[in-house]
């Protein structure tokens, strides 16, 4: 029996949607998602026309199957009124569908005033959510019942933010802002994914959306930002190293990845791609984080994108302290 990492055996797999939501749509984090009625309306239209067309087709195939000696019956070869009728009826139906889709879209598009604003930055292959107080996290935490507006951009290629439970999706385009808003009515944890193909680790560009109660949210925000001050810098830096996804390219055990390993890198002199040399000190690390393309170590590609605006100065300091410990 196929065993999926010890989690499910094939026989135990849920046959249908036993994991929340309806057969077609996943669990919603809002009470009345504007999209759902439109979805089911279209589904009904689809089902109606599919069974009409395929039903008639099947009926004709059986009823008028070729029989020896039986000639096809004469019918008219055109009937303008009929043609107009079956052009106009679908036209009316799609008109209704358009309007429903449009109305729901406008509702999903126009953010109400007083939204809680969170900045989102997509980068290969990680999400960074920055809160009004300057704190950044790699998962999205939002308060319940409060409209939240995400102002989004990307530092490298196009990404797309999708939260199935909230029925929202919007691309993150480098060089500009896009935005979405939503209001989560149900506390819980939901999935957030990247749906615009963005490279090798596209399928790992995931995050969680945690909907807190109002008090919990404030408490979380306060506590989450605190580790920078409560922990020793090197330890805080280690947490940051994990959260910001530095580990994806820079190992701490000496193996070369997309970028140089951080093990023992501090204090040494390295050759640059353009032939010069550089001593890896506080300034160089700071520059490498903020202007990664400025000085590339020999043997590496200039592929890292900047963290300008994504890390605070204090955070960089903790990262430097962390790198110093890697000997």
């Amino acid at each position: 029996m196929i065993d999926l990492d010890g989690l499910y055996s094939l026989a135990e797999l849920p046959l249908l949607a036993q994991t929340g939501g309806s057969f077609w749509l996943p669990d919603a984090a809002t009470k009345d998602p504007a999209m759902d009625p439109v979805f089911y309306l279209i589904l009904a239209v689809c089902a109606l026309f599919f069974f009409l067309v395929v039903g008639l087709m099947g009926l004709f195939v059986v009823r008028y199957a070729r029989r020896p000696g039986v000639k096809p019956q004469k019918t008219t070869t055109h009937h303008t009124l009929l043609e107009i009728v079956w052009s106009v009826i679908p036209l009316i139906i799609v008109g209704v569908i358009f309007y429903q889709g449009f109305a729901a879209y406008m509702e999903m598009q126009n953010a109400p005033s007083g939204c809680y604003e969170i900045r989102v930055t997509g980068r290969q292959w990680q999400w960074v959510f920055t809160y009004p107080n300057g704190y950044s996290d790699d998962n999205l935490h939002v308060p319940v019942d409060l409209p939240v507006k995400l102002t989004m951009t990307s530092t490298d290629v196009i990404h797309s933010l999708w939260i199935p439970a909230l029925r929202v999706k919007m691309d993150l385009v480098p060089g500009r802002y896009t935005s979405v808003w939503f209001r989560a009515d149900k506390e819980g944890t939901y999935r957030l994914l990247c749906t615009e193909y963005c490279g090798d680790e596209h399928s790992n560009m995931l995050a969680a959306v945690v909907v807190h109660s109002a008090e919990d949210f404030q408490e979380w925000l306060k506590g989450a930002a605190d580790y920078l001050t409560t922990l020793p810098p090197a330890e805080a830096g280690k947490i940051l190293y994990q959260r910001r996804g530095c580990f994806q390219c820079h190992s701490t055990d000496g193996t070369a990845g997309t970028g140089p390993s951080l093990l023992g890198i501090y204090g040494r002199t390295h050759t640059l791609a353009d032939g010069g040399t550089v001593v890896v000190d506080d300034n160089y690390i700071r520059q490498s984080i903020l202007e990664p393309q400025a000085k590339i170590l020999a043997g590496y590609q200039p592929v890292m994108s900047t963290y300008q605006g994504l890390v605070t100065d204090d955070e960089i300091t903790t990262l430097i302290e962390f790198i110093k410990t890697l000997k």
Binding site: T153, G175, R176, Y177, T178, Q308, G309
Partner: protein
């Protein structure tokens, strides 16, 4: 679409002396040339005056007159089967459609680019 209007109604019988195409008069060609050169001079000349928002329209208007002259006389559209002119106009129409909608969108979303540029500067 009446098929007799499309080029070569196919049942044109075997014919040695059906003319293949119209021969444009010399005088017309020379006149058109003179007009084109004059229009070029005009468009260069007016480019030194400022019509504000109409600068582009004036330049493109003159260019369009010139292009029409070239198409009508040098390219024989005036004398040839109307179908050629039709498809040429349709092509320009599709150019306009492509350009128009794309520009409409680009202008609409440009503020999002501007705010981004301001915030990163």
């Amino acid at each position: 679409m009446d098929h007799t209007k499309t080029p070569s109604a196919p049942n044109s019988a075997s014919q040695a002396d059906v003319p293949l195409a119209h021969v444009v008069e010399l005088r017309i060609l020379l006149t058109v040339f003179a007009a084109l050169i004059m229009l070029t001079a005009i468009t260069v000349a007016v480019s030194y005056f400022d019509f504000g928002a109409f600068n582009l329209s004036v330049a493109l208007g003159v260019a369009t007159i010139k292009a029409t002259l070239v198409a009508l006389y040098f390219m024989h559209l005036r004398y040839d089967n109307a179908f050629y002119a039709t498809i040429f106009v349709i092509a320009v129409g599709f150019l306009g459609l492509f350009l128009g909608i794309t520009m409409l969108d680009a202008v609409e979303y440009y503020p999002d680019v501007q705010t981004w540029q301001q915030s990163t500067r």
